[in-house]
Amino acid sequence: MKNEFQVIADLIEKDKKVLDVGCADGTLMKFLKDNKNINIRGLEISKEKVQECIAKGLTVIEGNAEKDLKQFPDKSFDYVVLSQTLQAFLNPELVLDELLRVGKKAIVTIPNFGYWKVRFHLLFKGTMPITKTLPDEWYNTPNLHMCTIKDFFHFVKSKDIKIFKSLALNNLNSSIINESNLGVKNLFADLGIFLIEK
């Protein structure tokens, strides 16, 4: 399981009710269910991935986060997880609002466009950056709204969203992000993980 999922799992206490939005093949769901006794649900747009989840015995709903989150009542989950997908929505702000409505807390991870390799790629090659977390070409990437850790940090603050914990992930190392080290973390982390609440 990728390190990002381990960090997410560490943020969630045992026996909670969790919704994994864009749960893909259910790797994180299965881990949470087996290791933390989490009452876990998934929402996934790909039929193929939904089948993989069913084969793992996971409860998953085929659907689209931009349309289908509205069916869940307010604060019906302890945590709602959204891993590296926010930037792919037509309206990320709306999705973020929905995550925080449905979940008592939300865990959102974002590929960091401020990562030094991304910056170097654009600066020196002059072409759209391709990295481990951003593997697609500009013409076939699902990402519509790329942002940096700094962008996201300021964005949630401006929306009066409370940040409980923000972590910078670089390969296997995770570290705390705060106001004072934001500039540095924004340069050296390829992924940001935010535990937030509204």
């Binding site: 039929k47 939904v50 069913i54 084969a55 015995g57 409860t59 709903i61 869940f72 009542p73």
Partner: protein, 371 residues
């Protein structure tokens, strides 16, 4: 029509009050079982059949000598694995494969015909509930069915919220739409317009409204398929001829196919049963039973739901299946949902659609493991 010796029946002694206000008692429910009930009695699956189905789910139907209606899904090593699970299915009341219906005799020994009480989906499941007592099953492992079978699934878990561990409604709806009712009415009109129907008393006058029933079946059959599926299978292909004949014989293969579907149906199905069962479907509106709030229908159950729809099903489209998912999610129920890609229309649930069959199998087997 029925060779009674092949039909197992349970005589329900307990009076059953029907939605129409009448009470029936000492009535037969015809059923069939597959596989065996284990000692813990925790492996039973109650399957509900659709409009024209019957209790003979799989293997050779002993009355028609044809494959059971869900042979693709049910049997040894299949999605609903009868090596593992004990499958029970019964003919709905109002039906014509041995359960109490319009071809039965009333207490005065006269054939009911249209004097049989109008029944509902609710009446059907209340009647079938008696099978649990009969087999000494406290809790089913699963209930499932497609189309009208799915309606019975929804009604059953609403009526008996703690009687099934898992619940699998397939290609169904919680409320019959105007379009659904319209197609059913077309079928009923075809039957009652046949002069041999004789106000439902065709048996005593030794006739059969076969033409009307065949037209009803032909019209309904079109609704079970998709436009794309029909086009790919038949297109404008001609039936055993080189060119158009400039007449009203079956020039096109699709015509010949529908006529065949109509004619074989007449041999196995009772026209009055068709009226009664389509009426029950039309009356089905689960939300209405709960003052318009569908979620209320499921508020008392802890069962695990898995809802399946098909992309090309325009009779019970994905959105109507999703409405059930939404109602369940709004009360925090345990519900999974998948829409299966298929161009086989509403009939997809009866056919060899691998993604559907594997989803069904995986859901059942994984849920059973956790027992």
């Amino acid at each position: 029509m029925n060779t009674e010796k092949n039909i197992k029946t349970l005589i329900v002694k307990k009076p059953l009050k029907l939605d129409c206000g009448k009470t029936i008692k000492d009535f037969p429910i015809a059923y069939e079982t597959y596989g065996s009930l284990n000692s813990k009695k925790d492996n039973a699956i109650l399957v509900f059949h659709a409009l024209t189905g019957d209790q003979f789910v799989t293997g050779i139907n002993p009355v028609t000598n044809k494959e059971g209606w869900w042979s693709y899904a049910v049997g040894p090593d299949k999605a609903i694995d009868t090596n593992k699970y004990f499958v029970i299915c019964s003919n709905v009341i109002g039906g014509c494969m041995g359960s109490y219906g319009p071809s039965h005799k009333d207490p005065d020994q006269k054939i009911f015909g249209t004097n049989f009480p109008v029944i509902t989906i609710n009446d059907m499941v209340n009647a079938q509930y008696n099978l649990l007592d009969h087999f000494g099953i406290d809790k089913l492992f699963s209930i499932t069915g497609g189309s009208m079978g799915g309606m019975q699934v929804l009604q059953f878990i609403s009526n008996f919220p703690d009687k099934s561990k898992t619940v699998i409604p397939i290609a169904t709806t919680s409320s019959h739409s105007a379009q659904n009712i319209a197609f059913n009415e077309l079928g009923r009109q075809a039957i009652t317009a046949d002069s041999n129907w004789k106000d439902g008393n065709y048996t005593s006058s030794d006739t059969n409204p076969g033409k009307g029933l065949a037209v009803a079946r032909m019209a309904a059959h079109i609704t079970y398929l998709s436009k794309k599926g029909l086009q790919e299978k038949f297109g404008r292909k001609l039936q055993e001829r080189e060119d158009l004949k400039f007449g009203f014989d079956a020039d096109f293969q699709i015509e010949s196919y529908l006529r065949y579907q109509g004619s074989v149906f007449v041999d196995r199905f009772d026209a009055n049963s068709y009226l009664y069962i389509t009426r029950a479907m039309d009356y089905f509106d689960l939300a209405k039973q709960f003052n318009g709030n569908l979620s209320e229908a499921f508020i008392n159950t802890n069962a695990k739901f898995f809802i399946i729809s098909f992309t090309s099903d325009w009779l019970y489209p994905t959105q109507e299946n999703k409405d059930i998912v939404i109602a369940l999610n709004s009360i925090g129920a345990d519900v999974g949902f998948v829409e299966i890609e298929s161009d086989k229309g509403h009939d997809s649930f009866l056919l060899d659609v691998p993604d559907f069959l594997s989803a069904l199998k995986n859901f059942l087997d994984k849920s059973y493991e956790k027992n």
